[in-house]
């Protein structure tokens, strides 16, 4: 057993030192009838690398990998090219196999990268501060709603219909137990976002308005008016960004006076990975910093006056504040945050802007091409790298059928909103730097075939 260094002789020697005659003696506290006598049946015995690799490869093979075919899925998870050096960096054993930096003198590597990560996220979002990561965008979104409740001492959150339906589901699950009131509706297939409708929902009981930017249908709208209205009622504006690359092209939510900005950081460095692990981004205005969930890294000096970094403001957290903590989160998404920050550092501002424009322009060209197909129309006036097509048929069966033909066509709104028949003709299509012109043509041809 290649991971276990003790030899039978070692074990015997150690038992002698302990003063036990057998291993069983060390398990005396386990009641007799709860002890298993041999290895658990129904499970295989240990295996070497070759056998395990063969088993796993067989499972892996039975999936259609995005890189092997035309691929257009987004809706909260995006396929971007990750530079080779990012994976090298996160596989440095000193990063990969370190624990949470609770002993800062021997964890400056992790801590400094977190400080750089926090700064990058804050600047990207246009807010004052950001934390050291959450699990993912959807849990970060709920945490933001809870934080707004703590700040405003109100329990009514108004959710935009453009918020990712899975994020809405997560919030609904939690709100049922916490007794928060959520106002939310399914989106309608229109070019305009629901900003105007949301204005009327904001009142003196409202803790926050939650708006996705760009939204689930890819639409982009200025949030300044919402911020102003929310603030006039002493409520907060929470912006949700599921595609951080967009912020290399469009204004940051903080520039429109959002109070809390959360997001999914998976686009940079992390990869698709069938949904996880991803990395939740969480930033806010300075004045709310003590209400934030999660870990924060801060700058200080050591006993010799040298600059160094530590985890700070920990009294917000579960290990100190227990039931009064701002959140129960402990393990976060550290290594994904490292991947995010390394990718961002490799891009730099110019690279990020170029990447964003490349995504956007490619999406514009693709949208126009696909909209030429008979039976297809483009919903959006504005979008970043993702837009919604309205087909003259149910899209979910078409998406399934095209997948069988090795074209991953996009996310059907039928998949996201199984109970909303009004949305059944919607198809959300994402185009990134990894999408080729041939891919777009392949999709166009296939759709033409289905709609003819």
């Amino acid at each position: 057993m290649r991971y276990l260094p003790l030899t039978p002789n070692d074990r015997q020697d150690m038992l002698t030192t302990i003063g036990a005659s057998s291993i069983d003696e060390l398990f005396v506290d386990v009641p007799e009838d709860a002890r298993l006598d041999g290895p658990i049946r129904d499970l295989p015995m240990h295996a070497g690398e070759m056998a395990v690799e063969a088993h796993m490869k067989k499972l892996a093979k039975n999936n259609s990998a995005a890189g092997d075919m035309p691929f257009f899925l987004g809706a909260g998870a995006y396929r971007h090219h990750v530079p080779a050096s990012v994976d090298h960096i996160i596989q440095r054993g000193e990063f990969l196999t370190a624990y949470t930096p609770y002993q800062p003198e021997i964890a400056q590597g992790t801590l400094q990268t977190l400080f750089e990560f926090q700064t990058q996220v804050a600047r990207l979002f246009g807010v004052d501060v950001a934390n050291a990561s959450m699990y993912d965008g959807s849990t970060a979104c709920w945490e933001a709603i809870v934080m707004a409740r703590r700040i405003t001492k109100r329990g009514k959150a108004v959710l935009s219909s453009g918020l990712h339906p899975h994020y809405v589901s997560v919030a609904k699950t939690m709100a049922r137990f916490t007794k928060d009131q959520l106002v939310s509706e399914a989106p309608t297939l229109e070019a305009a976002t629901d900003g105007a409708d949301l204005l009327d929902q904001i009142d003196d009981d409202t803790s926050c308005v939650v708006v996705q930017y760009p939204d689930i249908l890819g639409r982009i709208a200025d949030m300044s008016v919402l911020a102003e209205k929310a603030h006039s009622h002493k409520a907060l504006l929470i912006a949700v960004v599921t595609e951080p690359v967009a912020l290399g092209a469009i204004k940051a939510p903080g520039q429109m006076d959002a109070d809390i900005v959360v997001g999914e950081g998976q686009s940079l460095g992390v990869g698709l990975q069938f949904g996880g692990p991803y990395v939740g981004l969480f930033g806010c205005k300075q004045k709310y910093v003590r209400q934030m969930p999660g870990r924060l890294c801060g700058e200080t000096v050591d006993a010799e006056g040298k600059r160094g970094f530590v985890l700070t403001l920990s009294t917000r957290e579960q290990h100190i504040r227990r039931e009064k903590a701002t959140s129960n989160i402990c393990t976060n998404s550290g290594l994904c945050a490292l991947a995010f920050t390394a990718h961002m550092t490799l891009l730099g501002e110019k690279g990020l802007r170029d990447l964003a424009m490349l995504n956007h322009k490619k999406a514009v060209v693709a949208a126009d091409r696909l909209a030429q197909i008979k039976g297809v129309s483009l919903l959006n006036d504005s979008f970043f790298n993702e837009f919604t097509l309205v087909l003259d048929k149910d899209t979910r069966p078409i998406v399934r059928k095209l997948a069988d033909q090795k074209i991953l066509a996009g996310v059907s709104l039928g998949r996201l909103y199984p109970d909303e028949s009004a949305l059944a003709h919607g198809l959300v299509v994402a185009v990134t730097e990894t999408t080729s012109d041939e891919d777009v043509e392949a999709l166009a041809t296939a759709l033409e075939g289905e709609l003819a």
Binding site: R290, S314, T315, I320, R321, K324
Partner: protein, 123 residues
Amino acid sequence: MSRYYTDEHEWVDVEGETATVGITDYAQEQLGDIVFVETPETGAELAQGDDAAVVESVKAASDVYAAVSGTVVEVNDALEDEPALVNSSAEEDGWFFRVTLSDKSELDDLMDEKAYKAFVDGL
């Protein structure tokens, strides 16, 4: 003006109907470097024993209970920028908040300076 103490290590200065509340020098020494004080909002109605404030060191957060019932009329804003005042001057400049007393009889159960000193010596 008379000063009272609680067994939760708070001091209360009473002047007419107003009481000023803070934590004792003994308490600040036990807590170590104070990094943050969360004071109540002015206008808050406190009943004796309610959570009134939180005082934080790097690795601990301690609740400060309302030593007496009353309405908060003033909080010590200086603590926001300089929590270290609680360490350097716990029983004067490091006061937390002022209330108008709603039940002066509560004071009868508190300790005077001598009793508090004896209490601390016994810890």
